[in-house]
Amino acid sequence: MLRVEEINVTYGKAVALMDVSLHLERGELVTLLGSNGAGKSTLLKCVSGIKPPIKGRTIFDGEEIQKLPSHKIVQRGIIHVPEGRAVFPDLTVEENLRMGAFCRKDENAVRKDMDFVFALLPRLQERINQSAGTLSGGEAQMLAIGRGLLAEPKLLMLDEPSLGLAPVLRDNIFAVIRQIYQEKDITILLVEQNARWALQVAARGYVLENGRIRLEDTGEKLAANPHVQRAYLGY
């Protein structure tokens, strides 16, 4: 479904990604591990067209997309839920969700998805007319995910969804992600600092270090890998 082929991304003279390749098949949940500054967010930004690569290709459903502007990539169904939640603080919860559906025309389908999101995340419905800036961290993360779902994603890229959340809220987010994956016909690329959980839920995983892919394997095998255990699982 998505193939990233040997991309390089630079910020000025600093090389953020070097010869990075990865692929996701339809319906897979794949995780991307790596420490701070390894280039995980850059990779997502590259796929979503915010930070185009200087070399290499990204191919989605057989089409080269690395040169498309971000709004065209969203229209093709690649939805990036950014790190740090990034909700629109002065818009209401409902307006935030509607922004998620910005590219969609079919009002009935949008309303259906809105109902799905409210069933999944009932707190959002309670706070529908509140401005997003007043939400707690966990609620804002729920909103960011809900907003992403309203874009009708084929590929959902979640960047650190549990970052900065208390353990209870974090488990809650994990349950929500699991439920989305089970109930929707959706492919997920998950960047997650909680490697233990990510490797449990993901079929496959990649380890990104210093802008390069260091390891690639199934979730189970990565969890058993001594390097991964030392660096990411805290053994």
């Binding site: 971000s70 709004h71 969203v74 603080p89 002065d90 818009l91």
Partner: protein, 293 residues
């Protein structure tokens, strides 16, 4: 004494509505593109000249109302042209200070072009209501000013409906709050830039007709509205539209009352005194968001 206070408050409300109209565009452009456009008041100058020329053809109130619409169209196009040719190529490449310098260059260019083509002599837009006045209670004002106030409020109200009810309007607000996230929603950021400049400049053009009818029209008339709009924008919070609306009225009333109770000569200084106070006591402005959000 009391009626003098009411009278000055009314005058302040009327001029304040025009300040709001100019400042809204400035603050929208700042919010969405992070550009401080020092040529913004010159959009008003071009709007005022549009009225001078149109009303030479069609005098009276029909010409006046027509020139408000024409100014919105002409200056709206000027806004789009300046955005596409001057500002967009620089965004993300040049620093904020560089872009401010470029906008000051644009301001000088527009002033001098106006001087070249229209001459330096101030021109009057004749009062379409022939100096008629209205009296309500103990206060009085010209019919012209009542209409200026009315048109300002209509334009502000229409903008509010656009920004709150339409998809593109909400997208403008969203972009202003978080440009990166808006792009991830599939918002075409360049379209939003153009739209914001178009709307902001058109409002300034409308304000220019109202301002020019109240005062006089000359090539250098844009400087004062630019400065006033910056006062309003800082007062209300950079990028905050509601802040710009209220800030405009606050500045208008403060100038009017201050000019009356302190001294007429200090009228224009009051705005800058307000800036100093705001920057000292509440740098994010009356309605501004907290740091980091």
């Amino acid at each position: 004494m009391e009626s003098l206070f009411l009278q000055q408050t009314l005058n302040g409300l009327i001029i304040g509505s025009i300040y709001s109209l100019i400042a809204i565009g400035l603050t929208m452009i700042f919010g969405v593109m992070k550009i401080s456009n020092f040529a913004h008041g010159d959009y008003s100058m071009v709007g005022a000249y549009t009225a001078v020329f149109l009303m030479a053809w069609v005098p009276g109130w029909m010409g006046w109302v027509g020139s408000i619409i024409a100014a919105a169209a002409v200056v709206g196009i000027l806004g789009i042209v300046t955005e596409r040719l001057i500002f967009r190529p620089l965004i993300g490449r040049w620093t904020d200070i560089d872009i401010i310098m470029v906008s000051i260059g644009l301001f000088i260019l527009l002033e001098n072009l106006a001087q070249l083509f229209f001459g330096a002599t101030p021109q009057m837009i004749s009062d379409p209501f022939k100096g008629a006045t209205v009296h309500i209670g103990g206060v009085s004002t010209s019919v012209l000013r009542v209409f200026c106030f009315g048109f300002s409020c209509i334009a502000i109200g229409a903008l509010q409906i656009f920004l709150n009810r339409s998809k593109l309007g909400v997208a403008i607000r969203a972009t202003s709050q978080n440009r990166f996230a808006a792009q991830l929603m599939g918002v075409d950021i360049n379209l939003i830039y153009t739209l914001t400049f178009w709307v902001g400049a058109a409002l300034a053009g409308v304000a220019g007709v109202l301002y020019g009818t109240t005062f006089a029209v000359h090539p250098l008339m844009g400087a004062m509205p630019t400065l006033k709009a910056f006062v309003v924008t800082i007062l209300g919070g950079m990028g905050n539209i509601r802040g710009a609306i209220f800030g405009g009225f606050i500045l208008g009333i403060a100038e009017s009352l201050g000019g009356n109770y302190l001294a007429m000569e200090y009228q224009h200084a009051i705005g800058f005194f307000i800036i100093i106070l705001v920057l000292l006591l509440r740098p994010r402005g009356l309605f501004g968001a907290k740091e980091g959000t």
